[in-house]
Amino acid sequence: MSAGLEIRSPGLGVSIQDDGRHGHRHIGVPLSGALDPVFLAAANGLLGNPAGAAGLEVLLAGPLLQALDAPVRIALAGTMGARHLTVAGAGRAVPAWSTLRLQPGEQLQVGSPCGVGYIAVEGGLLTPPMLGSRSTYARAGLIHVVTTLPCRAPLGFGERQNVALGHEDGPIRVIPGPQDDHFTAAALDHFYTGPFRVTRQRDRMGLRLAGPALAHNQRGADIVSDGVTPGAIQVPADGQPILLLADCQTVGGYPKIATVIRADLPRLAHLQPGDEIRFRAVDADEAAAARAALARRLSDWLAGARPAQAGGDPDTAVLLAANLAGAAVRGDDPHLWPD
């Protein structure tokens, strides 16, 4: 008896992600991993999985999944609904932030998330790791083209549900630099005043912002490439910032005006074209306090999960709610690529 999910329809912008491919950035392999590790951890937590167990990340439209010849326990996280279809074809709405059990042959149609959503399975997806991670990085062949996703049969936990987990709002917190000395005083002032609008040029590598032009000083807009990391904010010669995300390259040749702190990275995953953001400078101590606060919010949320009521939540309003038709993800934007 094999446990797993057959992919009946792949959806759009769906990839396998875990907590990232650590230890290979020196040979040019991006970190990758979930754009919102907190939501992935929430889905995993409902199932008793480790926070970074591999699941499916959904950017645009969820997949249609079918249990093979063993039951599979699934949890959803994100502003994203789903429909559970029995073998006989009867369907019921399944809200996010809860678990469900797919019996053999039953299907789950996952909707479109507002922002980014996650589908976790009990025990995590068991596709073979590559370089220590199951995260997809298709540009360099770090991807398994599969029609079924292996996992394990449930151990017998009851179903759980919880209220939606949100993110904080307010300015995105950054640590200035490392090349903030490449900008005029006016540019730094503009950067911390904003606002910046999220453009349509966005994918898992990064997103382009539009706002007040950030002028470089006499040190210029080109640097000898040095290390970058998700959250780094590069400013090329046109003065419009590029915010790097999980699949960003390992080095970059534009000055970095500031770098988003770890605790605010998950918020970036949910930005939509047209959204406005501002930046606020913090120091390492404030960044540490923000990480601790975020970890506490997640653990409090997990502690607040309760057994699901029989019959599930019939609220169909949460289903397929988000329409992201205008938010095409580009995978080939040469402007994000310095070489």
């Binding site: 020196h26 392999v29 090349q179 640097i223 990391t229 690529w337």
Partner: protein, 233 residues
């Protein structure tokens, strides 16, 4: 003499230790020697358990970025430790490894070689002769998994990047830009001038202990081969 190394925060989970300034047009080899010396020092410290919380580090032309788990080490303590190590001024030069990489310079695989020849006032044969006479040094890997930045290109072949990058450069493309050479391990967009094609696999994730063929400090020569060498791969 060089200015002392400088340490910058790259967010709350990485430091960049800089040995050479960001603006230098051509980074001198002794800066790379200090970069590689620092990286060797990090490896020793980590092996001895002296770098708790440090996950990995990325050597570049002029700096090393150290990525760490900020919940497993104290920001200030790590900064102090890295600065102390950088101040030791260790140098490491050559990896000791030499590679001869087959490259086909035939027309269809070298779409820019004619333009390079014209711009540099050389014959096509003279361009190939200079390229194959050059001993390149791997300065760093980045941009794409396994992508080597190769220093040593003669000034006589210096060309800027394309004004508009190609949307797709085929894997195996051998390329030059500025005073650098490179080989594209993967199909990707790219703005370098394409002067040849190599059948060599530069990155293989199934080679778990060394997925990338090259490492910083390796020496690389390009050897002209016929198109049959590409077909054989």
């Amino acid at each position: 003499m060089h200015p002392p190394p400088r340490l910058f925060a790259l967010g709350d989970a990485a430091f960049t230790v800089e040995f050479g300034p960001p603006q230098a047009r051509d980074v001198p080899p002794d800066i790379q020697a200090r970069v590689l010396g620092f990286a060797a020092g990090l490896a020793e410290l980590q092996a001895a358990g002296g770098l708790p919380g440090v996950i990995e580090w990325v050597p570049t032309f002029r700096s090393v970025t150290v990525h760490f788990d900020p919940d497993r080490c104290l920001h200030r303590h790590l900064a102090d430790r890295l600065q102390a190590l950088a101040a030791e001024g260790r140098q490491a030069t050559d990896s000791g490894r030499k590679w001869t990489i087959p490259v086909c310079f035939d027309g269809e695989f070298a779409p820019d070689i004619e333009a390079v020849a014209v711009a540099c006032g050389l014959s096509r044969e003279a361009v190939i002769a200079q390229l194959t006479a050059t001993e390149f040094t791997v300065r760093m890997l980045g941009f794409l998994p396994g992508f080597p930045y190769l220093s040593g290109l003669p000034a006589s072949l210096e060309m800027p990047r394309l004004a508009t990058p190609r949307p797709r450069v085929p894997a195996g493309s051998v390329a030059i830009a500025g005073r650098m050479g490179a080989i594209y391990p993967w199909d990707s967009p790219g703005g370098w001038r394409l002067v040849g094609r190599s059948p060599v696999t530069l990155f293989d994730a199934t080679r778990a202990d060394h997925p990338a063929l090259f490492a910083p400090g390796d020496r690389v020569r390009w050897q002209a081969v016929g198109p049959e060498a590409l077909a054989a791969s």
